[in-house]
Amino acid sequence: MKRTLFVLICLLLILPALVFAQSYPGVTVTVVAHGGHHAIPWHGEVDNIMQKYGIKLNVIEVTPDELYSKELLELTNRSGAYDIIQYNSAWIGDYEPYIQPLDDYVAKDKDAIGFSDILPAFQKAQDLWGGKKVAITMDGDTFLFYYRKDMFQDPGEKAAFKTKFNYDLPDPPKTWKQVVDLAQFFTRKKGEKLAGKTLTKDFYGYADQAKRGRLYYWYLFRFIPFNAPTPQYFDPATMAPKINSAGAVAALENMKELLKYSPPGVLSWEWDELYTAAMKDGTVGMWIHWTDEGRGFNTLAPLPMDNPPKPVLGISASPGYEVGGKVYQFTVVDSAWVASICKDSKNKDAAYAVLKHMFAPGPSNVGYIMDPVIGWDPSRYSHFNSKAWREKVPGIENYLALELKALESGYPMLKIPGAFEYNDVLDLNVSKYLAGEFATAKETLDTVAARWNELNKKFGVEKQKGFYAKMWQ
């Protein structure tokens, strides 16, 4: 009896220690992260991770410009210097041999990391590669179509639009053809009337972020739907570029057409210029941008007029293209930041524990997503359905619901090796066309296709074909 009691007491004493024992005492996990705001959550969890797992989290910040080269150098040298890497999912083709698939981990602990909590659009565009789970989305970057709903809802404007174009003012526009009509309709000079009031500034129907460098995104927003119903960057069977298809040419012509209704100087516009003109100056009617506007819906400036209506930001999926009576709309999912475990890590299990701590559904993860300073956009159902976010920012539910809906038709960016070159070649030539250096859209895109073929040859056509297939699996 005494012996049984003794054993029981010993067990009671040991049990808490067993339950609350740190799983990886003394282990150091090194994470290389995008420097600055993106690194805040990693630093913020250093103490918690130490307490919970006994893991010393070593955060190395690298500027985004250098991230690719530094990581690739370490990975190809198989130095095992990093356990976790943050990278742009477009680089997966280059990183693949050095990345640890997460399937076994996810299966082993019954998806405690919440892979299935990540929206399918992000899983497909960022985390899956060749059918394997290779990464966890950190930043659910995507693009949304924004418009001045306050202006669209004005009865006078609605009636005038119907008289001019013989169809109801579309709210929101579903096709790029409608966007052209709307942009033409709403572009007005200072002194003219808009929504029954006199404009105090020139007003423009539409604007792209058309500075050389990231201009290709705004072309792809058109290229993808204009090649509906099954848009492709390449022919999957031959890797022949589809970038100069008839749809692609029409998409580029649409882009140039809309320049007529864009603010002067739009060819020099980067993020700041478009955001400021649209959200702070209130002089742009429609535009496509990242989710910053949606998150900051309540900061939209009123229309430039005396006694303007209450500003209302409209949000929707990007306009599409009509094929056989059906409109196909796509939401381009940016190849944004993800985290993976390095194959050469000596502490893979500990690294997975860190990933789970950082990204599994829960208040900590949602907290970082809600904080606009961090720059991590929502990517999980637990983010989009967050009660805490709704309580903290009244009215945010509209943006969350509309983005969730828009992401039902998510479309990935190119992810094969050399994705940056393919996109930059496109960017350069589209910029040349908009600047008048190419006479026709066809000539422009034939040039791009020729360069894409050269890049295919450089990386190996068969290899690229394999990577392109993996992108969709």
Binding site: L267, S268, E270, G418, F420, L428, Y433, A435, G436, E437
Partner: protein
């Protein structure tokens, strides 16, 4: 140890350092330029002159050469004239010199990246102060860096603002160091101010001009930061400089082989041009001395 051996021994560290920091990178760069060198591909096979041919058959390379050439000629011309005028003004205003000299150097202290961002604000088409002033004068807004025609002009304005003070400073130092005797003689002979300038000051400043031209030409050739921030070479390739072109090849497309080839393709003719210019100036100096 003989004196010659001792001299060689003492010079050896300098040669070693030079070899490490100048000669080795140059040889490595030549070696890279004749190989298919992409950091993502493990093999870097020898390809002979293929990288050079690839660069020479790319239209964008010629556009970059053209843009850089225009920049060197236009920027140098404006900076030399403006720099000389300002230096002469300061030369004749000893009191003002003390005040303006430090102020003039301020633009040189600003980082080019900052100037690029400043340019984005100052030349913004709709809200920039430059167009605001033009509008006040009854002139329509210009599209500046948003237009293929004016992007390079915008960059030139910013660069001239930044670098003219340097030219002023060097000219001023040159003018202050000139001997006074020729000026006294000219005064006695009744020479006009323009005669004094063109026949005395300018010829005596020949070494200074040579120095400015070489230093500025080489710096202009490296124009990168402002262009990167302000236009990234665009719209199209209207403001694509050689260094930006090489950067994109090497650090965006990771084609280090072609990037090295393009660097050599621009360095060789430039070295010839600089040597030719120096010789012409030296020849002029010798003619002046024998007069």
């Amino acid at each position: 140890m003989t004196a010659k051996q001792r001299a060689s021994f003492l010079v050896f560290p300098t040669i070693l350092v030079l070899a490490l920091i100048v000669i080795f990178p140059m040889i490595f760069s030549i070696s890279v330029s004749v190989r298919a060198f992409d950091i993502r591909i493990r093999e870097h096979p020898f390809v002979g002159v293929q990288n050079f041919i690839a660069v020479l058959t790319n239209r964008d390379f010629y556009d970059a050469v053209k843009v850089t050439g225009i920049m060197i000629v236009a920027e140098l011309a404006v900076e030399l004239v403006l720099g000389m005028v300002l230096a002469l003004v300061l030369m004749n205003l000893p009191a003002g010199r003390k005040v303006f000299q430090p102020i003039l150097l301020f633009p040189m202290m600003v980082m080019p990246v900052v100037i690029g961002y400043m340019g984005r604000l100052v030349f913004e088409v709709r809200s920039g102060p430059v167009n605001y002033v033009l509008n006040l004068l009854g002139i329509e807004s210009l599209k500046w860096h948003a237009s293929a025609d004016l992007a390079l002009v915008t960059i030139l304005i910013l660069r001239i603002w930044q670098w003219t003070p340097f030219v002023v400073a060097v000219f001023l130092a040159g003018l202050l160091s000139l001997p006074l005797e020729p000026y006294d003689s000219a005064q006695v002979d009744g020479a006009t101010s323009s005669q004094v300038f063109f026949l005395i000051s300018l010829p005596m400043l020949r070494p200074v001009i040579t120095l400015i031209v070489i230093m500025r030409a080489l710096e202009i050739l490296q124009t990168f930061d402002i262009t990167y921030v302000l236009t990234l070479g665009g719209p199209g390739v209207s403001s694509m400089t050689m260094s930006l072109y090489s950067y994109l090849l090497g650090f965006r497309y990771w084609d280090v082989g072609q990037a090295s080839a393009s660097a050599w393709l621009i360095m060789i003719p430039l070295s010839i041009l600089v040597t030719w210019f120096v010789r012409i100036m030296q020849k002029g100096e010798r003619v002046e001395e024998t007069r």
